[in-house]
Symmetry: C2
Subunit: 317 residues, 2 copies
């Protein structure tokens, strides 16, 4: 039998990444085009079509369907996208129908954080689990709950917003309007701001050397590098991030009684010290009967997780 | 057709309350016996049997089954109760099997907070809702999630522990071992302690008069009475409690995207100022797309909610 492939579309604020993905979650070909978000939804949709067309032109693989991971509020049932934060002027767009009509292929749209969770379920660290909590640490903090092999959607389809649970009701104001959300501790921008502030009192940190004293060059990657070179300040930062994430995840475990947690995204690259700290914190904070069977795993989809997660929507249906 | 009835058993630390309940959730007869918790599980089980026998002796109604609401970790599948906090020496007891055998009636055991949620679903404020978040404010803060007409149990049966989500990771240590749990703000003991401390700076509050200056007499009921008499301090206390509960519930809504909330238990008796404050706080903190359709309702099962909730387990199956 001829192998079938899916197309995954990772719709981002600056780039639309499109890939052809096999059933094991391996990308066989991919392209990236500009989103041109500022030009509004018609242009962005044209760019998505352009990306898909570029792949279809040079590739004769049999395509089973198209999956799109989108920011914003997505109704996967209707294939609509509402008010995606970095895509101005969208209001509500019937993205699924438009793409399905253009390519005459079954098309599935899902919120990007949920697509990441489904990606892990179909191809990744969640394959062995019927239920898990997925958290993605990037610019924002995304979440998705897999329960008994299915995405937990809630009453209206928006469940799983782990980034917006409050761990300090008096905390920093979040983009979402609330205070002390997990995202205000673990979103990239906040992590870097926090590190930069703390560095002023830690003049001996290797981070000065690695950034040539230009603190604007600090990224999660540089922090990880410094940690690997033995920088104690960076280790402490990573452990603190793990603790903070653990505070939030303990609440999520107490609410869902789902004990496998998969962490993806850039900050997850901090590896062992992050994961150990998350696990230790959850285990010390979750209700006693929920302490057995706790598992904290790193996501398997790393590079191009967005494309892979989106493509998994086709297989998930 | 002859009307059928259920028996509900509310297993508490000091009293076992047992009632015969009709299909509308009305108690037709009830008794209360001592738990004798300190004498261990055999004695407590004997007391439960005693309570049920007292009712069966004087009552010839046709009984369909027995429901038991128990503290502790309950496996409703196996009918077991593990380590209930106020019942020493229990470890793991096959309570369901024991009672079922004794009375030759189908017997169902559920955690008391979950039984309260099912009670609202079957008889109460949840009848009109397929999905809702139930929170019970008593000595502790209990929770239960109803999703698509069923109790959401999670991977291992312990889901819905709303009282133990953290709203301030640096907050007061909770009985559960964690810090800043919702219960440390809204559990009765904490509410009274907090009020007593604040009263020292509010010498004109009516609470002094109502308790004859004996602050040990402060209860949620007295606070409510003072509020009804126009005491501004008590109003402020009630509004603060509502806000605090709102901080926690906003996280729960963001995670489950379930937008109907039912609040029961003593503190829920504070009525309007509490409910308004909870609703306002949730609406201002939850993600924008989740703000429509938010509903905050008072539980309908009030007196003997424990018996009614337990009896509803029979109809729920």
């Amino acid at each position: 039998m001829k192998e079938k492939y899916s197309i995954g579309v990772d719709l981002g604020g600056t780039k639309v990444k499109v890939g052809i993905v096999n059933k094991q979650g391996r990308i066989v070909q991919k392209v990236s085009v500009n989103t041109f978000a500022e030009k509004g939804p018609d242009k962005v949709i044209a760019q998505i079509k352009e990306g898909i067309n570029l792949l279809l032109k040079t590739n004769k693989k049999e395509i089973q369907g198209i999956g799109i991971g989108s920011p914003g509020t997505v109704s996967s049932k209707r294939g609509t996208v509402e008010n995606p934060p970095n895509l101005p002027g969208w209001k509500k767009v019937h993205l699924g129908k438009i793409i399905q009509k253009e390519f005459a292929l079954p098309t599935f749209v899902e919120n990007d954080a949920n697509a990441a969770a489904i990606g892990e379920l179909i191809y990744g660290a969640g394959k062995a689990h019927q239920s898990f909590i997925m958290v993605t640490l990037g610019t924002g903090v995304g979440g998705g709950i897999i329960y008994k092999g299915k995405l937990f959607k809630g009453e209206f389809g928006g469940a799983g917003e782990i980034g917006h649970i409050t761990i300090d009701y008096n905390g920093t104001k979040c983009n979402c309007g609330s205070y002390g959300c997990l995202e205000t501790y673990l979103g990239n921008k906040y992590v870097i701001k926090n590190v930069t502030t703390k560095l002023k009192k830690n003049k001996t940190s290797l981070l000065y050397k690695l950034t040539e004293k230009n603190l604007k060059k600090i990224t999660p990657k540089v922090i990880h590098e410094a940690y690997l070179l033995g920088d104690k300040f960076s280790l402490k930062i990573i452990e603190n991030l793990g603790e903070t994430l653990g505070y939030g995840l303990a609440s999520v475990v107490n609410l869902f009684d789902i004990r496998t947690i998969i962490i993806g995204g850039g900050v997850a690259g901090f590896g062992k010290p992050l994961f150990n700290s998350v696990k230790k914190t959850i285990a010390s904070r979750v209700l006693t009967p929920m302490r057995p069977h706790l598992k904290v795993k790193q996501a398997k989809l790393k590079n191009n997780a967005g494309i892979k997660g989106a493509s998994s929507l086709v297989l998930y249906q």
